[in-house]
């Protein structure tokens, strides 16, 4: 295989693995803060149980995110040296601000949040939780600002073949940025809702009907029910923004070949890029025109206008349908679940099973969505500024392949371990961490208690 294809696969593998965990920690931080505040107000231990259990999931997810994030900071240079050479003047400060304002904040206060419960006053601990949640969200803000700039660059000029910043406000708040940030934060909220609901439903099915489980379920399912219609609306707005700024991406998502009015919404098809047509097409007449132009005879761009310079069609077409399909499932399950919990004040076995099945639905939708937007940017790395092929490194293919296999093996093991441990934690419930080995090691030394002033 060509080095550039391998480099792309490797980068995609790393960033796909990485995004799974921030997607959880961004919103889970806020959910933890909610549990903590409910506990602070009511002194009801059920909220504390929920907080404790989900703190463990948070800590584990955060560690996975940190280590895979360190990988990312190296991969920019090892895989795409041309990227920083060409647009480093814009990308650099955005990345630097992410590290300076977010990474340290979340790392330090996570330590206090996880290990400082008995060492600091309650309000400091709550503040630490708040700062961790704020840090993860700020981190998402910066990195998505950069990603959006790569999609819809603004506020720059090219001097001597190098991008120079002219207007930082325009760079950060580039045309697609508000849509993408909102879409991603909501995606994180939905991912976490279904993760919390799924694991809680799993505990419920196993007969663990503790109040903490019910509280988590009663928080997560309605949260999903509220977020999903907002997400559908924001997604639609994001699509309209993409239509304006990256029409080729929209054309590929809809597998629409010819520009024109009355474009149907294709539900199923087999896009054939070679012959530039679709096979086995099942479509709703005028659907795409209605969605994208809000009128039946609205003109939708076609791929043939961008021949030779549009992204690959099949991955976008399918990725988009997987994402939307997941969204529809989320809508059905969360509304059904909310109605049930509202009326009967408890779950049902079938609802619980459905929620367990949907535990990682957020991951699938998020990954599918990112594939659509990232593959949809091709052949550009930075739209209109830098082609992916021009940023590749000179690293020989066997070297990339070797490291790719190393990463894939590591990630496969870790993903299995992560999911196994989540369900294991759910089985042992809200008992203290590392319960089996407890008792043997309660050797807290006198000095430790005496020296710690906090409380």
């Amino acid at each position: 295989m060509e080095p550039i294809v391998l480099a792309r696969i490797q980068f995609a593998a790393n960033i796909s693995f990485h995004i799974l965990f921030p997607t959880i920690t961004i919103a889970l931080g806020w959910v933890l803060l909610y549990f903590k505040l409910r506990y602070a107000r009511s002194r009801d231990m059920a909220w504390m149980d929920a907080y404790r259990f989900w703190t463990k999931v948070f800590a584990l997810s955060f560690a996975m995110g940190v280590v895979s994030g360190i990988t990312m900071s190296f991969q920019f240079g090892t895989n795409w040296p041309g990227y920083m050479e060409k647009v480093g003047n814009v990308a650099g400060p955005l990345l630097a601000y992410e590290i300076l304002t977010a990474f340290f904040l979340e790392a330090v206060f996570l330590g206090i949040m996880l290990f400082g419960f008995r060492r600091v006053p309650g309000w400091v601990h709550t503040l630490a939780t708040c700062l961790v949640a704020g840090g993860t969200t700020l981190s998402a803000f910066w990195i998505i600002a950069l990603n959006s700039w790569m999609q819809t660059p603004a506020g720059y000029e090219i001097r001597d073949g190098i991008v120079h910043a002219t207007d930082w406000w325009a760079i950060v708040f580039n045309p697609s940025m508000p849509y993408r940030v909102t879409h991603m934060l909501l995606a994180s909220g939905l991912t976490v809702s279904f993760l919390v609901a799924g694991l809680s439903a799993y505990r419920w099915l196993r007969g663990d009907r503790a109040d903490g489980v019910r509280r988590a379920l009663g928080t997560a399912v309605p949260l999903a029910a509220i977020l999903i219609p907002i997400q559908i609306f924001v997604g639609d707005q994001h699509g309209l923004n993409t239509l304006e700024h990256q029409p080729a991406k929209i054309a590929a998502m809809e597998a629409n070949w010819e520009t024109g009015p009355n474009v149907p919404l294709i539900l199923f098809a087999w896009p054939d890029e070679k012959n530039r047509t679709n096979h086995f097409e099942i479509a709703i007449p005028d659907g795409a025109s209605l969605i994208l132009r809000h009128s039946a005879d609205g003109v939708v761009p076609g791929l043939n206008d961008f021949e030779g310079g549009h992204p690959p069609v099949a991955p976008l077409f399918w990725g988009f349908r997987v994402m939307v399909g997941m969204g529809v499932l989320m809508l059905i399950v969360s509304w059904w679940g909310t109605a049930r919990l509202w009326r009967r004040k408890d779950a049902s076995p079938w609802l619980a099973r459905a929620l367990v099945a949907m535990t990682f639905s957020g991951w699938i939708a998020t990954l599918a969505g990112w594939y659509v937007t990232e593959i949809g940017r091709q052949p550009w790395l930075v739209t209109g500024v830098l082609k992916t092929a021009d940023a590749a490194s000179a690293t020989p293919a066997p070297m990339i392949l070797t490291t790719l296999l190393m990463y894939l093996a590591t990630y496969a093991v870790l993903l299995v371990a992560y999911i196994t441990v989540l369900f294991y934690l759910a089985r042992i419930g809200a008992k203290p961490t590392g319960e089996p080995e407890e008792g043997a090691i309660q050797t807290t030394l006198g000095a430790a208690g005496a020296v710690t002033g906090g409380r």
């Binding site: 360190i70 240079g77 480093g88 003047n89 300076l100 304002t101 290990f115 910043a165 309660q442 020296v451």
Partner: protein
């Protein structure tokens, strides 16, 4: 000189990057070192060792992200050249950091029967990360040229950096624990110190020999006069620390912090020596910081941010060390 930011900004950013690397090496050095020392401890001691670094390791590794980030954003061309040349060791470093970072959490969250496995992975990941960092240092010192003798030299520095980290880790355990573990840790740190001395000497000898420019910088008159305190201080620190570790722990746990400060100062001296040798080059003998720097307007906006944010980071990091002061308990999660 201050009229033209293109003249002083690269220097400022090289200093910031150097500072991040130094802080990273000392801070992650001790927690990687604790990982390397894991197999030498009993199981209950292992829990206590881990809890001594629990609240800190994540922030410690963030300094690496900042250092690499500064290299990436301030000297983008150098980032590509250096990480391209070190492609394989970088990948191994990352695998090592991934393994140890997650083992941290998995060892207490997974089923008890897997705890040993995750402990081993924690050790292996820590060792791999330390070795690859030392390996990269060795190759970097010799100008990033991959030849057989250079690889042999880099393997030597790999072992010595790992030994140096073990020394820092041991000193940290001396600081954060007491009893039998503290006594053992002093002995581990002493052994690590002796082993790292070899690497220290090797790099000090190799860099002037590999580069006539560096030889010139150190041995010309009168530079040699005002540079001579540096190797002398480093030698004194080695000797003093060696003697001190032989006597640790002292009565009433006095000076428990001293070995760590001593170990950190050795890394400081080594860093200063390297920085002096390689300035103004960011890629040895090929690319200076002035050639590799980003545009002044981009460096300036980052500098504004750094000037405001870095003191804040320093203060809440200090707060964290203050909150978790005193000896470490055996159980990490205390709620």
């Amino acid at each position: 000189m201050f009229d033209d930011p293109a003249l002083w900004l690269p220097f400022v950013f090289a200093s910031l990057m150097g500072l991040s690397i130094l802080i990273y090496v000392i801070l992650d050095g001790y927690d990687l070192g604790v990982g390397i020392l894991m197999p030498f401890a009993e199981e209950a001691e292992q829990d206590r060792m881990i809890s001594s670094i629990g609240p800190f390791w994540d922030a410690n590794e963030t300094w690496l992200v900042l250092a690499v980030g500064l290299l990436l954003v301030a000297f983008p061309i150098a980032h590509g050249v250096i990480l391209g040349a070190l492609y394989l060791p970088v990948a191994l470093l990352l695998i090592g950091l991934i393994m140890r970072g997650v083992a941290f959490e998995f060892r207490i969250k997974a089923h008890a029967k897997y705890k040993r496995l995750w402990n081993r992975l924690f050790f292996a990941g820590s060792l791999l990360a330390a070795l690859t960092q030392g390996f990269m240092l060795g190759l970097y010192v010799l100008g990033l040229e991959v030849t057989l003798p250079n690889i042999a030299f880099a393997l030597l520095t790999a072992i010595c950096v790992a030994a140096g980290y073990a020394m820092l880790g041991g000193a940290w355990i001396v600081f954060k624990t007491d009893g039998a573990l503290q006594r053992k840790a002093a002995a581990w740190a002493r052994f690590g110190l002796a082993a790292s001395a070899i690497g220290f000497a090797a790099i000090s000898a190799a860099s002037p020999l590999a580069s006539p420019r560096i030889f010139e910088k150190w041995f010309a008159w009168p530079e040699i006069l005002w540079l001579s305190p540096l190797p002398l201080l480093a030698g004194a620190a080695f000797l003093g620390l060696f003697v001190l570790l032989g006597r640790m722990p002292l009565k009433d746990d006095r000076w428990a912090w001293a070995p760590f400060i001593g170990g950190a100062s050795i890394f400081l001296f080594a860093f200063l020596g390297l920085a002096y040798s390689f300035y103004p080059y960011v890629v040895p003998e090929r690319l200076t910081i002035y050639e590799a720097a980003s545009a002044p307007e981009s460096l300036l906006i980052m500098l504004y941010g750094a000037v405001i944010v870095v003191p804040v980071i320093a203060s809440y990091s200090a707060l964290s060390y203050w909150i978790f002061r005193g000896k470490a308990a055996a159980d990490l999660y205390d709620h």
